[in-house]
Amino acid sequence: MLNIRLLKTLLIILIFLFSVNIVFGVEPAPCDPNKDGVKVGDWCYNCGDSDGVCPNDFVADTCTPQTTIDPDCVSGICSQRIQSECTLVKDTQGNNCEWIPDCGGVLDRFCSYDTQTQSCPETARNPKQTDQSGNIIPSYRCVVQGSTTYQAVPGFCNTNCLLPSSQYCQQKTCGPNMVGGCQNQCVSYQCQECDLSCSCVQGWANANGDPVDGCEKKICDNSETSCIDGKDNDCDNKIDCADTECAGIQGPNNKVCCQSKNNCPADGSVSYSSCSNDNTLQGTQQTYSCTSNECIASNQNIQGSCNTGCCLPGQGGSVCKNPDKSSMMDIDTDAKNEICSGVSGSGNWIGANCQGQSCVTDPAQTESYNCVADNDCAGLNPGQCGEVKCINNQCITQAKADAQSVCQGIAAANGYQCGVYTGCTQTQGTQWQCGFYGESTLCGNPNNPNSYDLGCDGNFKCTINLCNQGQNPCGLCYSQCLIAANDPNRAPYSAQECVKNGLWAQCGGF
């Protein structure tokens, strides 16, 4: 009982003292670091109410770095805590914080909310896979959020590799026009940078030494040194046959390079195998065309005109024959000659029609033909006043149109004094000769054409003395006529009459 009274008394005293302290304003005591209390401002607080780590229990953000962990100084945000602080106290929301070793990354730490936040799922915290060395392989990878925080996300990690395989590491490649490169190697789940080794491809140079931007300077020849190497040797953006310098030169694909047909080989000679008609050859020719800068060969069906010549066919070939006597032959084996005429402007076989590989007799022209022009008949002798002519493609002779003047020329050349042209007549074979007769009146006195004493001889010369002409007993020469005219018993009755008659015909005369 006594003890109860004692306890009651003590309690009353305490209540009294507390009440007095409150009612009368108890002065804060100076803070003694060595005692269980702390002075903040003018107040002194009982250190026993805190975690026992002074002096910053009651003031937020006043923590100073120290080795001893003070729960009051732990961040209210889980992710900002280090591993030793992680689970020390709840965060500002009253949630528990939890250290998740799975989410170790570059910083090798992660403190997250509790499992209910699902920031780092259960599976992330219980890795089951291990690599060949027995290291645990996290099934979740972490990515950086901000600069210090990590988020566990399945399948990704900023470290690039958590598997001990280089396949997750970046492959370093060289720049354009380079060969080389390297593969970053994975060491302890981290990609180690490999040494990039690059070199320029042939024809290129690295001007700035940086392999990343490649070899930017092209090494060029002065010309397209090769037209079959598939390269732009002279850096004019034209490769092989596309380069004008290769025109006419052998290019790739065993074809000649070209810019136009002129650069290609000359078209092959035409091979003619038959005739379309008398004037047209038919055959083939290898020709070239310039397609995509390459000379492409192809066989073309060709029809060639013989112009004024004629197509002569044979077994497997055909040729053009000239429209003249050189074409004269028996082309249709009818024992008669045919000849090519180009008179109409296009060659035509006179005497035959040719087509395909043979010729047949032209039913409208069944004779033998041997000329096209007059000079084809030069072998014929036309005589004095004749001429050779090619009429209807056959050689003939005929009197010249100016035969009279020709013959008179001959008469003059032969010194005919009394030859009178009587015509040009065909005498022997093909010959045409001048005809003359002797006209004695032409032997008259030039001063008096009606008077003459001389007659015309066989050479058409005035040599026959009519006054003593035994062959002409009835004739009188001019001088005799004069005598006769003076004799009234004898005719003629005048000198003029005598001469005009030519002869005074005593014998049988008038």
Binding site: G268, Y272, L312, M329, Q431, S440, T441, G458, F510
Partner: protein
């Protein structure tokens, strides 16, 4: 009687018509010298004026200005051998034309024959030359065509048909075989 008179009349007219003409004849001719004497007679009952003579296609020469009826004029001219056309004209329009044959002398016949022979030889030579030329042309053409054919064969355009001869031989053997079989069958049946 009337008929007789009529016939007589016709005959008389006809005789008269026959007599009314210019008569042209070759009176004399010496082939060696060509001397000829042509007689032209005026058988018309009237005189003719400005009578002219023409030999073949020669110009006309005045024969006489007045040719009295019944008269005859001789024309002495020098004519080469052969047949010549003598034409006589006059102002009265009574033209007469006659072909006169001036015969050849022996020498001229020989000469003509020689010329004929020569002309024939020339003609034959021309034909021979023509034939020879045709042959040469054919030969050169065959060579040209053979060259063309060779080109065609090389170009693959033409393929020479060499099977014809073989085919003919095969057909021949086949025919002989059939004949032999027929002969054997007939022989057996006998």
């Amino acid at each position: 009687m009337k008929k007789i008179i009529f016939i007589f009349f016709i005959l008389a007219v006809s005789v008269y018509a026959q007599s009314e003409r210019i008569d042209i004849n070759l009176a004399e001719y010496e082939p060696d010298s060509g001397f000829s004497k042509i007689s032209i007679s005026n058988l018309y009952s009237t005189d003719l004026t400005n009578v002219k003579i023409k030999i073949d296609q020669s110009p006309e020469f005045l024969l006489t200005e007045t040719f009295k009826s019944g008269g005859t004029v001789y024309k002495i001219i020098n004519m080469p051998s052969g047949e010549h056309v003598i034409t006589v004209t006059n102002d009265q329009g009574k033209t007469e034309t006659k072909n006169l044959l001036f015969s050849l002398s022996k020498e001229e016949i020989i000469k003509t024959k020689e010329e004929q022979k020569k002309a024939e030889e020339e003609q034959a030579k021309f034909e021979s030359d023509t034939a020879k030329l045709a042959e040469e042309n054919k030969l050169s053409s065959d060579i040209e065509i053979a060259k063309e054919k060779e080109k065609n064969i090389q170009a693959g355009v033409y393929e020479e048909k060499s099977t014809n001869k073989i085919l003919l031989v095969v057909i021949g053997v086949f025919v002989v075989g059939i004949i032999a079989m027929i002969w054997l069958v007939k022989r057996k049946s006998k």
